[in-house]
């Protein structure tokens, strides 16, 4: 991604010069971020806009800037990013730049360097010798690390705004409503998932135990079987109840098939956890023929990577659960690279936590019976997420049907 910064001055609002310039950028293959805008208060006051122009090549950016010059745009000379040493381990210098989940560049010795990975709520550590810029969490900060401060020499590339056909991610935006036409939206989502798989993308599923409680486990298994799932992030509960279901046919003591309580059913999940602990882990239980069905069984069989992160209320937990939250976060971070689509179902805190790790270009779908979950996810920075307010079971049933239909058709 290449860029230039331009400034516009004058009566750019009344003359419609500002919208014209922004449209020209998009029409000629660029993207933009409005870095600063000052609108004149009185009719005769001039306005000012400072705009970062991005393009896929220097030629595209030059062409755009050449076009914008005739509308009065002036190119701004770039200053290098400001760097300050971290005072101690785990502490950023004051005024450190806090990242978003969008593609970010820093200007160093006359060049723009991409910050990797694009993760929100981090600082940026710069190595001037290696010419690298890395997003770092508090726990990764070491005394003396050069950290970016202030806003000069930092550019954030916005997500591409499509001017062509609007897909589900455009028309849904992030507004949440239980009134949306679900079937049509689920069909669009199936299309996105299929497209991700066919174009070599990677799908992450973040799932809460409601997937099992609502009886949606079998649909999820079908998705795993069909090769749509590449990575699973969950907690102890999803795995424990899935295994309880696999071993005893119940989820939290309720028979999923009949909806009736099992005798002494409340013990089942404890016994399930105990069995797996006894086997040495989920993978070992599969290898020993103890665990023969369910989501976790499919993941092991299909060699699908999963990270189970612990929480304070966990029973057990299962041996694979990482109980140190910083370690769990690190494990998840190390696996999200290459994820192009994320499906988050029935878990609020896990969805927000994973949303924080994902770059903005990852297409994120949040499904929950509670509308506030999607709102919270988007409010906490994962603005690109689209939400569907529905029970998980009908959603997954329909999704797998569409996937099977479309899969059988052409892909």
């Amino acid at each position: 991604m290449f860029s230039e910064q331009i400034e516009l001055r004058g009566h750019i609002i009344d003359s419609l010069i500002l919208p014209k310039v922004l449209d020209e950028i998009l029409t000629h293959g660029g993207r933009f971020t409005i870095r600063e805008i000052k609108i004149g208060k009185q009719r005769h006051d001039a306005s000012y806009a400072c705009i970062d122009v991005f393009g896929p090549s220097p030629e595209v950016v030059d062409d755009i800037v050449r076009r914008l010059r005739q509308h009065g745009a002036e190119v701004v000379e770039q200053r290098d990013v400001q760097l300050v040493e971290a005072p101690v381990d785990g502490v950023f210098p004051p005024d450190f730049y806090v990242t978003t989940n969008q593609q970010t560049f820093v200007h160093l010795a006359g060049k723009w360097i991409e910050t990797r990975p694009a993760t929100m709520d981090c600082g940026i550590a710069v190595d001037p010798n290696q010419k690298t810029a890395t997003t770092v969490k508090f726990s990764q900060v070491r005394k003396g690390m050069l950290i970016t401060v202030g806003h000069h020499g930092i550019r954030v590339v916005p997500l591409q705004r499509s001017i062509e056909r609007r897909g589900v991610f455009e028309f849904m935006a992030s507004s949440v409503s239980s009134e949306k036409p679900k079937s049509a939206v689920i069909r669009e989502i199936a299309g996105e998932i299929r497209m991700a798989r066919n174009s070599g993308g990677k799908m992450l599923v973040v799932a809460g135990p409601a997937v099992v409680h609502t009886g949606a486990g079998e649909h999820f298994e079908k998705m795993i079987e069909a090769g749509y799932v590449n990575l699973l992030f969950a907690g102890n509960a999803l795995a424990a109840h899935d295994i309880e279901q696999a071993l005893y046919g119940t989820s939290l003591g309720v028979y999923l098939v009949r909806g009736a309580l099992a005798d002494e059913g409340h013990e089942n999940h404890m016994r399930a956890i105990n069995t797996i602990r006894g086997a040495g882990g989920i993978a070992q239980a599969v290898a020993k023929g103890i665990l023969k069905q369910g989501i976790m069984y499919r993941c092991v069989q299909k060699n699908i990577d999963f990270v189970l992160a612990g929480s304070i209320r966990d029973d057990g937990p299962l041996p694979e659960v990482i109980t140190d939250v910083v370690a769990a976060q690190k494990a998840m971070r190390s696996k999200v690279e290459g994820v192009t689509i994320a499906l988050m179902m029935g878990t609020m805190l896990h969805s927000i936590a994973v949303g924080n790790l994902l770059p903005a270009e990852v297409k994120t779908i949040c499904v929950d019976i509670n509308p506030s979950v999607v709102t919270k996810l988007t409010d906490r920075g994962t603005f690109q997420a689209i939400g569907l307010v529905t029970d998980i079971e009908p959603f997954l049933r329909e999704l797998t049907e569409f996937l099977a239909e479309e899969g059988g058709r052409s892909s």
Binding site: R9, G10, L16, G72
Partner: protein
Amino acid sequence: MRKLLLCSPDFYGIEYEINPWMDRTRNVLPAMAQTQWLRLRETLQSLGCLVELVTPQAKLPDMVFTANAGLVVGKKFIRSNFRFPERRGEEKHFEKWFAGHGYEVVSLPGDLFFEGEGDALFCGEVLFCGYRFRSDIRSHHKLAELLNCLVLSVELVQDRYYHLDTCFCPLPGGGAIWYPAAFDEYAQRAIRHHVSDLVEVSPEEAAHFACNAVVLGEDIILSENSPKLGAALRERGFRPHELSMTEFIKAGGACKCLTLFI
């Protein structure tokens, strides 16, 4: 009394080509040009205008188009910075005339092209400014600072209508005559938003320089062969005065280009 600056066409002719109208093989008829210019001057005077004259100069054939000399607001003369070297020689003569007549001469930075009333016309309190072919849009920002007024920059997109005054003419009461196709869509939207009554000119009449009119209250002097515009103006209570401008249209100018309000 309205005061206008004119320049006799003693040295007028097509000596170079800096717009699509100019063709050195199709030179002007000097006697005819004199007659047409004198007719314009007489018409202005008969309508009660005071006509001032700047001395024409040899080798500056376009000096006759005084509208491009600069922009006069009160006793301030904002001098043009011509885009083409062929016309830059005019700058010092106009500057001298205005300085000698008690005007404060203001120059814009040398790299900002600005061609006076050719590209800057007040419509009510808003100064409409054309850009792209001749004036640089950055000069508009300077004008806004100097004059402390709202300046609307409008992009011109047809090289035959290279100056704003070839396709836009403000009328008293907030209306204007215009030829929309000469502007890009953003300019068209801005003009429609800010001008209450727009009188649209047909392509044929625009090509006869119908928009290049001198507005003196209810009297409007425009080039002949503009019957539809004439009718539209009469409907609104104006009195159009049509003059033959054939010799000046050969260089891409007509009534308005030959006059500068001072």
